[in-house]
Symmetry: C3
Subunit: 429 residues, 3 copies
C-alpha cells in the first residue's frame, strides 16, 4: 500500500549506494561485451529462444554473430513477457541509446551497430561500472587460474571448487591439479597439501571466498583420511569408483575445503540445489534444473562442525527460502545470500526478501549478486532487485514501522554493500 | 499498487476475449444443469458442507434434490468465506436473477424455483455459453466413449487415460478395452494395437489431446515389450500383480501413450500430484488429497525422450509451481497449464501466475481451464482468474513496464485463447 | 489495494474482540515478567543476539539480569529489522511508557528501571490482560503437573504429551509417570491405565486439550497391544530400544492418546515439523529447526481412524500450508491452527492466512495463538496478526466481495474467539 512516489524516492536513493557484487562469472581479462552477440549469447536468451521454438542451429559457430542476434531477436517476441527480456530492454536503453519501449527483430541491425560502436570505446568498462554504480565484482575462478593480469581490487578472486569436489576422479582434473600444485593426489594427505597450495595461491591474489554449487541430494559428512586415501588411490590407478565411493570422495574433499576455510577465515559460498544436464539436448548452460525436495538439514553436521566459517548460502527455490531464513536466524555462521537463478524472478524475490528482512539479523544478509558473465548485466539485474527492495522498504519499514527514508536506505546499504565488505573483508587488502 | 480503475478496465477488456477452455468434465449430451441440485452437487459444495459438519445423509438418493439443496445451503454459511461460495453467488447473480450479496438457507426455494425455470429454457446452453463468452470446451472422455451425438467443434473430445494406465489389471477395464477395440490385450503388441485403435477413434472424432492425472510418486520409465508382455499375460490369467509389476504395467502403458502422442502430434496433458481416496469416508469426489513431496525431475526421461510431444502440465500445489515454471522455461516441450484444484485458489493463483508471466515464454502458457462438470461454472471460475490476471497485468505490466492496455490485453488473449488454439490445433478441423 | 483508512478502521474494531489464546507456555503461578530480563530472556531475543554475534556468556547465571539485558540490547541493533524486535518495541511503548520509535543500548537502564517498577505493581497481571484484551490463555502442562493454585477459568490447562510419546523409554519419565499415577507401565494395559489417570486428572482440572509437537518424519500407526507390551517390558528392564522399537513405542503411545481424545471428546493439538537440537551449541530453546520435506499424508490413517477427534494442526513451514488448508477443507476433523514459530512471520502469515480464508470453512480455523511464555507478549504478537488480518479482510472481503465492516469483523471474531470457544468448549465449565 505504499505510494509510488515514496517507492520511487527510495529507489533513487538506493541506486546511489556503490555496489559490492559478491558473485559473478566475469572474465576479468574481458569483462564487457564486444558485440550484441555477447549480450544475447547469455544463456537466459539462448535457452528462452530455444524453449520458445528456436532450433539450436543459429547457435553453432557457422552462424555469424549478427545473424545469431537476429535469430534470437526474432524469437524474443515470444518471451517478451519475461523479466529477462526486460533486462535486455534496460541494457539497450541505458547503454545503447535505444529509445523505444520494446525491442523487435527489426531493431537488429541498428542495435547491433550501436553496440559495436559503443563497446569499442576505450573506456567502455569504466563507463559500464560507473553507470551501474558497481565498485567491486567477485569472480568465479577455476582452481588452476593463474589470477594474474587484472586488478584484484576491482575484480575479487573467488576459488570455485566444483571440479575438485565433483570431478576429482576425472583424469583431466587430477592433471590440472597436479600441474597447478606440483602434487599428485594419491592419498588424503597429498590432497590436503595440494588444496592448501591452492588456497595459498588464491590468498596471495586477494581471493575473498571459496565457492561451490551443490546438487539437491548433497549431504556433507566428515570422512576419515584412511577412507579418503583408499578412494583416491583407486582413482590414481584409473579405476572407476562406485556410487558410494564417489560420494565418499566428494564428502572428503568438501570437508577439507571447509577446514581450510576455517583455518584461513575464508567465507564459503554454498549454492544449493542444482541438477546438471537434466535437459540433455538443451543449449549451452541451458540444461540444468532441480528437484524441490531438498533440505538444509542435510548441512547440520557441517554448520555445527565449523562455527567460525561464514557460510553464505544461496538456494535455488523459493520453497527453500524459509529454511534459509530460519537456519540463518539460528546458526551464527549461516548467512543468506542473494536470489539465485530460477528463484531470481520478482514474484519470488519479493516474498523471499520480505521473509529475510522480517526474520534474519540485518547484518547477516547479502542482499544480491549479479551472477553475470558480462558487466552490462549488473545494471538491469540490480535494478530489478533494487526496485523490489524499495517497494518492501516503503511498505514494511517506512509505512509499516515509521522508518525515515534515511533509515530505510541505511538498511539497503547493509544488504548491497556493507555486509559484503565486512564478511568478505574486502577493505583489508 | 495499481489503481482500481485500471484493473477494472483491464478486467472488462479481458472478459471480451472468447474463451477456449482446454479442460473440463462436461457431459456434452447434458452440458448444463437442470436444477440447483446439479449446481450444488458439485463436489466443492458437498465436500465443504461435509467438512463443515454436514453428514452424508442428505447426499443419498433418498433425499429429494430440493431438500439436498436446502441441506447444503444450511451449512453454506459455515463456508461463505470461501472462494467456492463466491462462485455460487456469481452463478446465482448472473444466471438466476439473484439480487442480494449473500445467499442464505432462506433463499433455497426461491433459488431452486428460479433455477428450474431458467434451466428449462430451450436455449439455456447457448445462453450460458454466450454470457460466459466460451467458444470451445474440451471434454474428458473415457477411452471407450463412442464420441457421437454432439458437436465436436464446440465440445472437443480428449482421451482420458487414467483407466488404461492405472487400472488395466482390472477385469472390468480390460473388458471395456476389448469391447471398444475388439482386441484382447494379452501382450505388449496387442496393447499397442488396441491403444492405436483408441487413438484412431478419437482422432476421427476431432480429439485434440490425450490426458491423465498422476499420483505424486509416479516416475515414468520406458519398459521393454517383453517385460510388459509378461505382466499383461499375468493379468490376462487373472493373477494379481505385485507392486513392482503394477508399476511396470503402468509405466509401459503410459510410455506407449506418449509414443502415440508423438506419432499423432497430440498434446499430452499431465495433471500431477493427486492421491486418490485419502479420506476414505468422504463424499463422492471429495476424498482425494496429495503429498507435497513430489518433483518434476521424475519426468526428466519422458521430457527428453519425446521432444515433439507438447506436454501440458498442471500441478496440484503452489510448491511445485516453481518447478513447473522452470521446467517450462527450459524444456521446449513443456507447457504450463492452468491452476488446478487445491491450487485453484486466488492467493496461490496470483503468486503462481505471476512467476509464470515473469519467467516462461508467453506462447507456452495455457492460462486457465474450468475443470467444470456443468457449463454454469465456467463463468465464475474464469471470472476469478480474469480478475487476478487483470491485477497482475495492471501492476507488473502496465505500471511496471509501460505496457498499453491493448498490449496487456494481447498478452491475456494468448493465455485465454490463442495458445490453446495453436497448441491443440482447434482451428484445423 | 485497500486504502489505509479502511485497514486501520478494521484493525481498531478487531482489537476490540476479547481474545481466547489457545496455546501458550504461560506459568500460571507467575504469568507476567518481573524484570526486563524476563522479556529479553525470551528465546527469540537470546537466539537472534547469538546469531548476530553475541557469545553465550551473558546468558550464564554469573551475569546479572541487568547486564544480560544490556548485552542483548547491545546486539539488538543488528536485528532491529526483525519482527521480533518490533514486538519488543511494542511492549516497551505499550507497557513501559517508552516514547521513542527505536530502542537502543543506551535505553537499557531507563527501560530496566521502568520495567521493574511497573511489573511490581500488584495488579500488573490484570493490567496486561486488560490492555491486551485477552480473556483466556491456554497452558502447556507437563503430564505430572498438579494443576493447582490457579484460576483454570483464566488459565486453561492443556495436557502436553511430548514426554510420554518421545521419552517414555527414559527412566526419569517413567518415574514421573509412576509417581503421578501410582502405576508402573510394564505393558500396554498398564500404560493405558496410567494415561487414563492423567486424562482424568486433567479433565477434573478443566483441561480443554491434549497437545504434542512432532518431528517431520513422524507417521502415526496403530500398534498392537502385544507389540507395545513387548517394548514397554524391555524399557522396564532398562534395556535400550532399537530405532524400530522406539518408533513402535512412540506410535503405540500416540495412538493411545488419540483414543482417549476420542473417548473424552478432547481436541488434540498437533504441532508438526520440529527437529530438536539441530544447532547443538545454540542458546536455550534456540537450537531447533526443521526439514521442509514432510507431509500431512503421514497422518491419513490417524485422521481416518478418529473422525470424532478435532485435530487442531499447526505446521512449521509455509510450504506445508497448502496441505494444512486442503486437508482441513476435506477432513471434517482437521482444523487449521495459528501461525507457528518459523512461519509466524508476516510475509508468510499473510500468504498462509489468505489461503485458509479462501479455502477452509471459517468455522474450522483457529486464527492465532500467542505461544508466549510471559503475558506481555500476547499484545505484540496478536497485534502483528491482527494487522495482517485487517489487511486481508479489507482487500479480499470488503473491497473484493462487498462485505460490510461489520461482516468482516464477524469473520475475525470467529478466528480470534468463537471457534476456540466452541471447539475447546471453554464455556462449558
Amino acid at each position: 500500500m505504499a505510494d509510488e512516489k515514496l517507492v520511487n524516492e527510495l529507489y533513487a536513493e538506493i541506486c546511489r549506494i556503490p555496489l559490492i557484487d559478491p558473485h559473478s562469472h566475469i572474465n576479468p581479462h574481458r569483462p564487457t561485451s564486444r558485440t550484441l552477440d555477447d549480450i544475447l549469447g547469455y544463456h537466459y536468451y539462448t535457452e528462452l529462444a530455444h524453449s520458445a521454438g528456436m532450433s539450436k542451429e543459429p547457435l553453432s559457430e557457422k552462424t555469424s554473430p549478427r545473424e545469431r542476434v537476429r535469430a534470437i531477436l526474432t524469437y524474443m517476441e515470444r518471451f517478451d513477457n519475461t523479466v529477462q527480456y526486460q533486462w535486455f530492454v534496460d541494457i539497450a536503453q541505458t547503454f545503447l541509446g535505444f529509445q523505444k519501449e520494446r525491442v523487435e527483430a527489426a531493431d537488429c541491425d541498428a542495435l547491433y551497430d550501436a553496440a559495436e560502436e559503443k563497446m569499442a570505446q576505450k573506456d567502455w568498462e569504466d563507463q559500464v561500472l560507473r553507470q551501474s554504480n558497481i565498485e567491486k565484482v567477485f569472480l568465479t575462478n577455476d582452481f588452476d587460474d593463474p589470477l594474474e593480469g587484472f586488478d584484484t581490487n576491482r575484480y575479487v578472486p573467488c576459488l570455485r571448487t566444483d571440479d575438485l569436489v565433483f570431478h576429482l576422479a576425472k583424469l583431466d582434473v587430477r592433471q590440472r591439479l597436479s600441474k597447478a600444485t606440483g602434487i599428485e593426489v594419491g592419498d588424503a594427505s597429498a590432497l590436503r597439501k595440494a588444496v592448501g597450495k591452492l588456497f595459498d595461491h588464491f590468498r596471495q591474489h586477494q581471493a575473498r571466498a571459496c565457492a561451490i554449487s551443490l546438487p539437491p541430494d548433497f549431504s556433507p559428512e566428515k570422512v576419515s583420511d584412511s577412507d579418503l586415501s583408499a578412494v583416491l588411490a583407486k582413482t590414481s590407478r584409473g579405476q572407476d569408483l562406485s556410487a558410494d565411493e564417489q560420494r565418499l570422495c566428494q564428502n572428503g574433499t568438501f570437508w577439507m575445503l571447509a577446514e581450510y576455510c576455517h583455518e584461513l577465515r575464508m567465507p564459503f559460498d554454498l549454492m544449493i540445489g542444482v541438477i546438471r544436464r537434466v535437459y540433455e539436448a538443451g543449449v549451452f548452460q541451458g540444461q540444468d534444473l532441480f528437484d524441490q525436495r531438498t533440505s538444509l538439514i542435510q548441512y547440520r553436521k557441517l554448520f555445527n562442525a565449523f562455527p567460525n566459517v561464514a557460510f553464505c548460502l544461496s538456494v535455488l527455490t523459493t520453497n527453500q527460502n524459509q529454511e534459509l531464513g530460519s537456519f540463518s536466524w539460528i546458526f551464527p555462521n549461516v548467512m543468506t545470500s542473494g536470489h539465485w537463478w530460477y528463484a531470481n524472478i520478482p514474484a519470488y524475490i519479493e516474498l523471499d526478501a520480505r521473509y529475510r528482512l522480517q526474520a534474519v539479523p540485518k547484518t547477516k544478509q547479502i542482499g544480491y549478486y549479479s551472477d553475470m558473465y558480462k558487466l552490462e548485466f549488473g545494471l538491469p539485474k540490480y535494478n530489478m532487485y533494487r526496485k523490489i527492495l524499495a517497494k518492501i522498504l516503503a511498505e514494511d519499514f517506512v509505512r509499516g514501522r515509521g522508518y525515515s527514508t534515511e533509515q530505510a536506505v541505511e538498511l539497503a546499504r547493509l544488504l548491497l554493500r556493507d555486509n559484503a565488505r565486512r564478511l568478505f573483508q574486502t577493505d583489508s587488502q
